[in-house]
């Protein structure tokens, strides 16, 4: 809104803004604006200023801040800051003001030197921005985040305790059903052997699920490291850990030179191990697994790729497979807990990257992970 004021009297030395557009620029806006002279006297205020303080123009202009707002407002909030501004500094600070009618509001106050015609500082310009809504939103957000974090911690603790406490009884089932299997390994009762096999297998599945659950929860609950991680070394460690599987399946793993990325060594090891394990596992019967691990630079990141000659994943499932507990195949064909890729995704996310899958020309899978370059 355009505000045009006529002054009855112009004191010597004052400059009257003739340019109406300049006036509009300086006077319009949602904030409280005022210009004061070196004696802390209001020379000009905008309408918003008057509205917030519920004053008439003649109750403000020409009077000092102390006279208008009271010494208890002037001294703590304004005096020292205005002095600094008049000295040439730009001051900004947040405060809570108690306005008549409106009540307590959070405000952001800026005080800047007002330059006169001859490059001298003639006073200061005050702008007061009402940031109460902003503050309220900020507070709600902070409370929501806090609540979510609490809930997440509770859930993690719950899952952890559950998985942990279930381990012992699961081990008991495994231990003794195994002993029984051995005792009934020879002899006529085929049914007993079969039933015991089912018991044992069930126990094994429980144990694997608990292990994977615990791994997943642990990924989430720790702060990921942000140091340099040489993926070459990590691969060697994974290869070592998988030596029995590699021996058994005669899987061929080709690993091209891998870079050093920035992240958490343990998590990246879990990631690589899960991807390689999958690559070895999901092959057609009779096929020797062939896995290729490579990396290429993508701007600020490295794209790590693990590709295989396996059975592949249909296009409509390529997003799903990263969901928790999602399994595509029946246990008869390919066993698994459905947690491996969900864990990989979580790890990728915690590194600020992502993971996705494409199909290789032979119909196998290529899993790509974006990881940050080492600084």
């Amino acid at each position: 809104m355009l505000e045009v004021h006529q002054r009855g009297e112009l004191k010597a030395g004052e400059v009257y803004l003739e340019n109406q557009y300049l006036q509009a620029l300086t006077l319009t806006g949602p904030d409280l604006q005022a210009v004061i002279d070196r004696d802390y006297r209001y020379r000009y205020v905008n309408q918003v200023y008057l509205d917030y303080w519920q004053k008439r123009r003649d109750e403000v202009e020409g009077l000092t801040i102390a006279e208008v707002l009271g010494i208890e407002m002037f001294e703590p909030h304004f005096k020292a800051n205005i002095d600094r501004a008049i000295d040439g500094a730009n001051i900004t600070f947040d405060a809570e003001f108690d306005f008549p009618a409106l009540g307590k509001r959070f405000v952001r106050v800026s005080i800047m030197p007002a330059n006169g015609r001859y490059e001298n500082i003639i006073g200061a310009v005050l702008r007061i921005e009402d940031i109460s809504d902003l503050k309220e939103t900020e507070l709600s957000l902070r409370q929501a985040v806090h609540l979510l974090e609490e809930k997440k911690l509770d859930l993690q603790r719950f899952i952890y305790i559950l998985s942990h406490d279930l381990r012992e009884p699961v081990n008991t089932i495994l231990n003794f059903s195994n002993l029984l299997r051995e005792r009934f390994a020879e002899g006529g009762d085929v049914q007993v052997r079969k039933f015991l096999e089912f018991v044992y297998k069930g126990g094994e599945r429980m144990r694997n699920l608990l292990e994977d659950l615990l791994k997943y929860v642990r990924v989430d609950s720790n702060e990921p490291g942000r140091g340099p991680v040489p993926l070459d070394e990590v691969f060697q460690e994974v290869k070592q850990d998988l030596s029995a599987v590699l021996e058994r399946t005669q899987a061929q793993i080709v690993c091209e030179p891998l870079p050093i990325v920035r992240g958490d060594r343990h998590m990246l090891r879990v990631l690589l191990q899960n991807l390689i394990e999958n690559a070895i596992k999901f092959v057609a019967p009779g096929v020797v697994p062939q896995v290729v691990i490579s990396a290429q630079a993508e701007g600020k990141n490295w794209q790590l790729t693990v590709s295989d000659n396996g059975i592949g994943v249909k296009e409509e499932h390529r997003e799903l497979i990263f969901d928790l507990f999602k399994r595509l195949h029946s246990r008869k064909h390919y066993d698994g807990t459905g947690l491996g890729l969900a864990t990989c995704r979580r790890i990728a996310e915690l590194h600020g990257g992502r993971i996705w899958m494409t199909a290789t020309p032979q119909g196998g899978c290529g899993f790509h992970v974006l990881l940050p370059k080492r600084k």
């Binding site: 012992e168 081990n171 008991t172 003794f176």
Partner: protein, 133 residues
């Protein structure tokens, strides 16, 4: 065989105690197995049998009442000195915190995650302890 006379199992889980004895026997152990289902019971045994100390103590962590660490601390005078017993944790806890606690107690010379395998039992019976657990 380094351990051939007396092994003390301290675990509140009776199924685990039965199983671990079976595994020890399969690994060739022919001596006595003393089973205590609590730290308190194990302490009572040690106090009552100063002339029959165990050579090896397989110790669980999570037990109602006195936990494994508390037992290890309290029982140390009975396990060192004239009768030296090796204490090895045998637990389902894979937590780093527990492992560190075990490392901090001098009398503990191993940390095994259940179940005890025949192979590991063989190592223990041969006196091969992993001080860098």
């Amino acid at each position: 065989m380094a351990i051939s006379q007396r092994i003390l199992l301290v675990d509140d889980n009776d199924a685990d105690n039965v199983y671990h004895e079976i595994v020890l026997r399969r690994a060739g152990y022919k001596g006595e197995v003393v089973v205590c289902e609590s730290g308190e019971a194990a302490l009572d045994y040690l106090r009552a049998n100063p002339d029959r100390p165990p050579e090896l103590v397989l110790l669980d962590i999570n037990m109602p009442g006195m936990d494994g660490f508390e037992f290890a601390r309290t029982a140390t005078p009975y396990l060192t000195g004239a009768a030296t017993a090796t204490v090895v944790m045998l637990t389902s806890s894979a937590s780093e915190a527990d492992r560190r606690k075990a490392k901090a107690l001098a009398v503990i010379r191993g940390y095994i995650i259940k179940p005890l395998t025949e192979y590991t039992a063989g190592e223990l019976l041969a006196g091969r302890f992993d001080d860098n657990f």
